[in-house]
């Protein structure tokens, strides 16, 4: 089954539907754990906005009625666990979305699994997430999928032989991305000229970049969140590093262009979501999102948006919003779900099966990567 956004053309005109079908509406409460205060709150913000937009649309359609119970985790494992416990202990809550960071997820998910409540990450990309348990899912494509795809294409086009790597070593996610980069580079037989690290909150990357520049790489692999990533690429360009950058999913955000401007040109990322695609679904989504929140959605908003649709879809198939196990089973069967991210299925462990699009920034815009 699929649920698309096609009938809803941007307004809130169709109130009549609710009345007609109110008798069979499936009610469900979904808990959300999101990173809403602190350093990385931009991600949590995007995610909750994506969810809320989806919620509004889904509820308007009337087949299911989802209530979101949103809790802040402040990006801290402890608080995420507290929030998780709070949600799990509430019997009326059917399933959980979030938390935002893999580090938080690692702390919460085992609890959820043991409690028999479904939990799905929409932005958690580290290795080993769905493997935590039967009740654990994600719809965010892991770095292990996205990065190699981007690297392969980039190398193919540029004929790169030497690569330099820079990554944030004090963050689980960027570190995980780096490992994929390194592994992939080795597998592809590339020479790694240097591996540089940076730490959260750093604003001066010149020392690392000077070093990178002096090793003359053909490509720079950067595992960074967009906040730092954009600054890195900006400083790199200023220093005269002109070669393309390949980034992970954290790098995939319109914000990069916002922050780095022209310097962002030449950034290549693999992504499940290509915001500037001409796909009508995405155009539509962009439009609605911008109307609602006054800015362009990023990958995280899109993934969250799809996630709630995936939940709604599973809900319909489960037929009830009260049985946690039935919901899990229904969710696990999700196959070829058609969201804005493309066709989506879970594999046996609850990980993502979907295609990766490789995009690059060209003339200040994300465009599909051409070989």
């Amino acid at each position: 089954g699929s649920s698309s956004t096609s009938t809803n053309s941007g307004g809130q005109s169709e109130t009549s539907i609710e009345d007609e079908t109110s008798g069979e509406v499936i009610q469900a409460k979904i808990g959300v754990i999101s990173y809403l205060s602190g350093a990385g709150a931009a991600y949590g913000e995007a995610i909750t906005q994506g969810l809320k937009l989806a919620q509004k649309e889904i509820n308007e359609k009337g087949e299911v009625n989802i209530e979101l119970v949103i809790e802040d985790s402040a990006g801290e494992a402890e608080q995420a666990v507290n929030a998780g416990q709070k949600l799990m202990a509430d019997d009326s809550i059917l399933a959980i979305i979030g938390p935002t960071l893999s580090t938080e997820f690692f702390a919460v998910a085992p609890e959820a699994d043991l409690n028999g409540i479904t939990i799905m990450g929409t932005s958690t990309t580290a290795d080993g997430i769905p493997e935590i348990g039967d009740y654990v899912f994600r719809n965010s494509i892991p770095e292990a999928l996205a990065i190699p795809a981007a690297m392969e294409k980039a190398v193919k086009r540029t004929g790169a032989k030497k690569v330099a790597i820079i990554y944030g070593n004090d963050d689980a996610f960027t570190k995980a991305g780096f490992e994929v980069m390194k592994r992939t580079a080795e597998e592809m037989g590339l020479e790694i000229t240097t591996i540089e690290t940076y730490q959260k909150g750093q604003s001066d990357y010149k020392a690392q970049l000077t070093k990178i520049k002096n090793t003359n790489p053909d490509l720079v692999l950067a595992s960074a969140l967009y906040n730092e990533g954009a600054v890195i690429i900006d400083q790199a360009r200023k220093m005269g590093i002109t070669v393309p950058f390949v980034g992970g999913n954290g790098f995939n955000s319109p914000q990069v262009i916002e922050i780095a401007g022209d310097a962002a040109n030449g950034l290549i990322v693999g992504t499940p979501y290509f915001g500037d695609s001409t796909d009508p679904k995405i155009v539509e989504f962009n439009k609605k999102y911008e109307e609602e929140y006054g800015k362009k959605p990023d990958q995280f908003a899109a993934q969250a948006y799809d996630a709630l649709y995936i939940y709604a879809d599973a809900l319909k198939r489960a037929g009830t919003g009260e049985d946690r196990d039935a919901f899990r089973d229904a969710l696990a069967e999700t196959k070829d779900f058609e969201g804005i991210l493309g066709l989506f299925s879970f594999n046996e462990v609850g990980d993502v099966v979907m295609d990766v699009t490789v995009v690059e920034i060209k003339d200040g815009k994300f465009v599909e990567f051409e070989e």
């Binding site: 802040d72 202990a89 702390a107 004090d170 960027t174």
Partner: protein, 316 residues
């Protein structure tokens, strides 16, 4: 009613409260000897990683690994405490804060052991281990009228509570003794204390190491409560948070630490309804509190007053 009370959410929050009380005490003890040590996050990390790694790699029983973690933190506390003797006041505070940061960076970089910033997953959870144990000796939670989950958290809370009570008992008794008097006299005037026959080197290192031990213990228990640790759990933020527990509650008296840790752990939970603004509130509240009660909520004078002694505080 019981089911409601044994809500795992409450129990989970209670666990963190208890751990945070230990952490607050880990600052309180050195502070009671005049040493403002902000190294607790570092020592906590040492305890947590030691115990977690030992259980993961060697499958040792938890009570052994937790104790080893705490002891290692204590020993490192001695090693760090000796050179730190030369420092006082803010110098000590910042140097120990720095020690914590160095430890964290070490966890980040020592990947072969710590898996770097990805952190350690799959650390056995204490409550679950207790459940296993209970089942192995034939006690079924259902026999006690509890769900498995309730049993897990209840037993965890009970264990933590016992440990906290033990530490409190220990610290209070120590405080009202020759050792405690030595600590406070060093806190108030180190040189005068030395002239009174107090071996300040010994007592300062002792207090420092005790703090480190308690922090290490709290860290180990933290690891086995949350089941996942990464270096960012032991960052600057943690150090500051712990400090705030102690000072907020009142650093002059031991119940201040207990009180501060309890209130401040609950606060973010209680403030969830203002979620987006809660840290703004939190900040404002700290400022107001310090303006109104600079010694923290509970202070010596209040404490004595509560004990029925009539002592007034002057101002100058």
């Amino acid at each position: 009613m019981l089911g409601e009370l044994l809500n795992p959410y409450y129990l989970q929050v209670l666990c963190f409260i208890l751990i945070n009380i230990m952490l607050a005490l880990s600052i309180y003890v050195p502070l009671s000897s005049g040493q403002l040590s902000l190294g607790s996050a570092g020592f906590m990390g040492i305890g947590a990683y030691t115990s977690a790694l030992l259980t993961i790699h060697y499958e040792l029983p938890l009570y052994v690994t937790i104790l080893v973690g705490a002891l290692l933190a204590g020993v490192i506390g001695i090693i760090v405490g000796i050179p730190s003797l030369r420092l006082t006041g803010v110098y000590l505070a910042i140097a120990t804060l720095g020690f914590g940061e160095v430890i964290r960076v070490l966890f980040v970089n020592w990947e072969s052991l710590t898996k770097g910033s990805v952190g350690l997953t799959g650390i056995p959870q204490l409550g679950r281990e207790l459940l296993k144990f209970a089942k192995s000796i034939g006690i079924e939670p259902s026999a006690l009228g509890l769900k498995n989950n309730q049993f897990v958290y209840l037993s965890l809370v009970i264990v933590l509570l016992i440990i906290v009570l033990f530490i409190l008992w220990f610290v209070i008794r120590q405080q009202n003794s020759r050792i405690g008097r030595a600590y406070s006299s060093i806190q108030m005037d180190e040189k005068a204390a030395e002239s009174m026959g107090i071996n300040i080197t010994y007592y300062k290192v002792l207090a420092f190491a005790q703090g480190a031990f308690i922090a290490g213990l709290a860290g180990a228990l933290f690891a086995h409560t949350i089941g996942y640790i990464s270096p960012s759990d032991f960052s600057y933020h943690r150090a500051v948070e712990i400090l705030i527990f102690t000072v907020f509650g009142g650093s002059e008296v031991i119940i201040g630490s207990v009180f501060g840790a309890t209130i401040l752990t609950l606060l973010p939970e209680v403030l969830r309804f203002v979620s987006d603004y809660r840290y703004i509130f939190y900040g404002i509240m700290l400022v107001i509190l310090m303006a109104v009660r600079p010694q923290g909520i509970l202070d010596l004078y209040l404490f004595y007053r509560l004990k029925g002694k009539r002592i007034k505080r002057g101002t100058s």
